[in-house]
């Protein structure tokens, strides 16, 4: 007999805020330096030191709270959570246990084209601990990270698959990055997640009963989306196996033992697996105490307004707008919005296209697509192309190719030249027209000259004319190739073709 196994997954995501200083002191919120450089009496927990809450971190936390539609508490509190560990300087971590900054938020994710709303139960501010690096003999501790500002975002246990977990984490990270709340780099530890997983037999337990039982297994400190997904897959299989073994032994099936596990990523041929840290019997007693050193945080309606005003356009709204305003394909919009920096680059290019230049007409929709193509296909493949080519130059390039001033192929040359020239002459303002002339990339658009090429080609290829007259229209291509060769590739192709066809008609009569 096998049950109808269902899974409920909830996440606790720790996000490091991108504020300039730490949560309770003026030390820089920076880690990629030598260890123990950014430390002071406050963040190393020296006796007599006191925390002073920083505004930057609070503003970013608040921005995250309004970003995910949380009900923000106008008065929230800070609590101490006690445990002993060498990298925890005060013997407690300051967090918001009793009254968090926000409750009941939400985030919409897309899985297989279906939109799913994930309810978020709470968001709260807390401080990070130091970083421990273990070696054979010593554990080395870096307190640069101690006191760094975090928000913890907790979801309701509503997800069911590793795919949903992945989609949620990607959406969350994208929103946080766009709002400037965090860089969201999981490999730098800017985003870490714990996963709660409960597998249950839906033929035996109703949803309400599962809710009442609470989560069964927590897996700590997953530091990549991949690890989170692998951990879910592994743990679901492990829990089902445990339950089935219980049944096989003929014992009464109880719920999975409540426990905390640690994820060990695959390495040296060993597959990834979770490892038991502790079971319920030894669950911790953190002895929460409202921090008497910190006043409750009181917000005004204007603080919330300010936080909302600081919210830039999110990636979803941006993609929708691009698709209807610029006629971008879903794929192009997706690629261009993959990072806030790239999105801003494209947006600046689009604005440069809109700027009226020498009485030209406003850009056609395909101009935006062309710009998108240049950015995605060409600029992205040039090393540091985005640093060396400015958005207004991309717009100019689109115009030059569109007006057949240069060919598409020459456009590529021009881009490479811009990148190379940037190195020679930093600060060079890069008038593309001038450069195209200097590089002799200019196409021949003059009708009289084009007619010359056509006549010469026609004179050389009587055979082709006869074929054409006999109704083999593709014979024109041979003539076109001949004319293009005579122009040394510099004739504007569309115009050349138009002229040639016109002359053939005339020749015919």
């Amino acid at each position: 007999m096998s049950g109808l196994w269902k899974t409920r997954i909830g996440l606790e995501v720790h996000v490091r805020l991108a504020s300039r200083s730490k949560l309770f002191c003026a030390c820089p919120n920076l880690f990629e330096t030598n260890p123990n450089v950014h430390i002071c009496p406050v963040c190393t927990g020296q006796p007599g030191s006191l925390p002073a809450l920083g505004r930057g971190a609070v503003e970013l936390a608040l921005r995250a709270a309004v970003l995910f539609d949380f009900d923000v508490a106008m008065l929230s509190r800070f609590d101490r959570k006690h445990y002993f560990y060498p990298d925890l300087p005060k013997g407690y971590q300051v967090t918001q246990q009793e009254v968090p900054l926000g409750r009941d938020g939400q985030l919409e994710i897309e899985v297989d084209g279906r939109r799913v709303r994930i309810p978020l139960s709470r968001i709260h501010i807390e401080e990070d601990a130091g970083r421990s690096v273990h070696s054979e003999e010593h554990t080395r501790i870096d307190f640069n990270r101690a006191g760094a500002p975090l928000v913890e975002i907790v979801t309701d246990p509503v997800m069911e698959t590793a795919q949903e977990v992945g989609a949620f984490l990607r959406r969350l990270r994208e929103e946080l990055r766009y709002a400037g709340v965090s860089d969201g780099d999981m490999d730098k530890g800017s985003m870490r997640t714990d996963v709660n997983i409960s597998v249950y037999d839906s033929s035996r337990l109703g949803r309400a009963e599962v809710d009442a039982e609470g989560p069964r297994v927590e897996i700590k400190n997953l530091n990549s989306i991949r690890a989170a997904q692998d951990a879910v897959d592994f743990e679901v299989a492990r829990q089902i196996q445990e339950a089935q073994e219980t049944i096989r032994r003929g014992a009464q099936l109880h719920s999975i033992t409540v426990q905390t596990r640690r994820w060990v990523a695959s390495s040296e041929g060993l597959p990834g697996h979770s490892k038991l840290m502790r079971t319920k019997a030894s669950q911790l007693d953190y002895r929460f105490l409202e921090d008497p050193d910190l006043l409750p945080l009181a917000l005004l309606a204007t603080d919330l307004d300010a936080a909302r005003a600081m919210l830039p356009e999110g990636p979803l709204a941006m993609r929708d707008r691009w698709r209807c305003e610029y006629d971008l394909s879903a794929h192009d919009a997706e690629v261009l919005s993959s990072s806030p920096q790239l999105a801003a680059y494209f947006e600046a290019t689009a604005r440069a296209l809109q700027a009226p230049v020498r009485g030209e007409s406003p850009p056609a929709r395909q101009s935006y697509k062309a710009a998108a193509n240049w950015i995605i296909n060409d600029l992205a493949s040039l090393s540091s192309g985005f640093d060396k080519v400015a958005p207004f130059q991309v717009a100019a390039l689109v115009r030059l190719v569109e007006s057949a001033y240069i060919s598409h192929k020459s456009g590529r040359l021009l881009l490479s030249a811009l990148v190379a020239r940037h190195v020679d002459q930093p600060g060079h303002d890069g008038d593309l027209l001038e450069m195209a002339q200097a590089l002799d990339l200019e196409l021949v658009n003059d009708s009289a000259l084009l007619d010359e090429y056509c006549y010469a080609a026609m004179a050389r290829r009587e055979d082709a004319i006869q074929s054409w007259q006999a109704g083999r229209l593709q014979a024109a291509d041979a003539l076109l190739g001949e004319a293009m060769m005579l122009s040394r590739g510099k004739a504007a192709p569309d115009k050349l073709r138009a002229r040639l066809l016109a002359l053939l008609e005339v020749h015919d009569t």
């Binding site: 260890p35 007599g48 003999e137």
Partner: protein, 690 residues
Amino acid sequence: MLRRRGKGATLCNVKERPEVTPEPEADAKTPVRPSRIAALSGFGRPIALKFADELIQVVQSLEAGLPPETSHGQGAEPPRAARVADLRPDRAVARPGSIRWLRGAPDRDNSWFRVPRAWAGEKSEDGPDSFPEVTAQEPHGCPSVPAVPKCPSPVGFPSAETGDAMDLLEELQAGHRTAVQSVEAALRRASSDPFLAVIELHKGEALDRAEALDKRLSTGDEPLPLHGLPVAIKANLCVEDRLATSASASLANYAAPYTATVVRRLIAAGAVPIATANMDEFAMGSSGEHSVHGPTINPWSPIHDGELIPLAPGGSSSGTAAAVAADIVPLALGSDAGGSVRQPAALCGVTGLRPTQGRLSRFGLIAFASSFDVIGPVARSARDLAALFPLVAGIDPRDPTSTDPHHEAKRFPLRTHLDGLVIGVPKRLLDELGDSLELEVAASFAQSVEELRAAGARIVDIELRHAGAALSAYHVISCSEAASNLARIDGVRYGMRIDRRGSADNDLIAMIRATREAGFGTEVQRRILIGTLALSRDGSRALYGRARATRAEVTLDFERVFGGNDLIGAALSVDLIAMPTSPTVAFGLGARTADPVEMYRADLLTVPASLAGLPAISLPGPLAKTSCAGRSAALPVGFQLIGSRGSDEYLLRIATLYQQLTQHHLARPPRIHPVPPSGDLHGISRGAEQ
């Protein structure tokens, strides 16, 4: 061991407690498991065994001392909250890092802070039940601390000053005496201190500072307001590069890496710290006996037949009060949580202020109970404190709980006389004390009240209904906060470390337990255990909640009395409240160490103001004629005046007016004889310290 004193006696002596309804079973408390509480506290089995019975009794006692839970909740809304606009700006200051905050020298090549790998174990905050048990190894190696004079010699103790700090300042600022002379004299007195009031001299810096001040004066600059005034600093206040031991073995070798805000302000005003004052370990104690440096002796200790009968100076600011009473310094800083400035000031016959919570920055004050802790100055007169107070008070961005010095105090007029002043006396509270209030103290207090009445004050009877439960509430909350604050003293980053290197059980937990067992004295361990219990799932969280609720009630009681709130019917509004500071005069050294409950009762009358965060000052009243070892002796008695929030300046003004009328504050310990002020001042040389 904590003994209950007869049936029904509890930590707080309320004769008629309201009927306590039986605790509902719904509380679902797990039974107290001392081993688990000890483990959570960072202690091992020996401590669990030592305190096992006591812990259960204390909880019963504290529960009985608190009124039943009426309404649920965390008490009244806190009076203040942080606004986003007022928060510390996000302005990271790039600066070179300093590994000196951390123990030991850094590697040359990199600045990692290193601990043995075994300490980190599995990266987990392992459950307390899975902590390996450590068997105690006696004795633990303890860092050496200054030697304690076994029998202080009272003979020949010199005193140079006759007046108070203001008298000395007058001389200094007029140039009749140089800062160097004043500081040298104080250092000389401190170095021959027979009472163990001071534990370390700041010789080098003190003389350097004094010289700089004299130089400043000689160039024609205006003298600083406290120019050249020697002061002593309690050992729980951080002074850069000076030992900040908090009188604990756990911090016996801990030199503070920075200076407390109030001390910085004091120095900026021209005062010169000359010594560190002794205290009860981590400010836990009411006798000055719980110090790793040894007990402080009350300068009023009588001498019979050439033999000193040592009395306790009170605590925890024992050295602070004794240093002023013994004329070592005219002014000293202490700290007050439940009465730690006021009670020793009363027992040593000096004037001590507990300012309004938040008026003085706590930055650099090694925390005992954060929500009660305040820095409090001690002097010979209230006018000295009045001169000092505005120089050190005020908002400190490093202490977000510090408050504006002005806006709260505006509504108090500066008085020039006591005529018409309304003083409330909580008669019922005092009656309920019964025998606990010594007759001599009651008589002295009655006389002080009479003096106030004679000076024109109107004395009215007031009621502080919840004051009886204040002591239990104070202990529950202060122990909880202490357990939390002292969690950082784990031997990892600074202070003492007992590390059995090479032994198989040298893991983090073993190191923490060994360090904390050896580093903390019995009283500190006791309070950490009580605090852990009050916050843990084992002890009822209800205990902590009820204590918070009681605190809110006590605060409301005071507000009613001060505000003339019609909640109690008649429109009663008193300017100040008067009551004795300590229910007893100074007691014999060691007389109460065996009975913590008796010791805690010393705070009976000081904790109500602490719970409400109100300013209170202890003033010397008429001396009490008591008998000491069969002989008659005159000992100091203090009474306190309590003001409403932010009325510190007003309070100090009234106290000054009282002292102008009565002069009780001029009384000196009998054997301290003034010597001519310009006498031999050359005994101090700039040699190596100590």
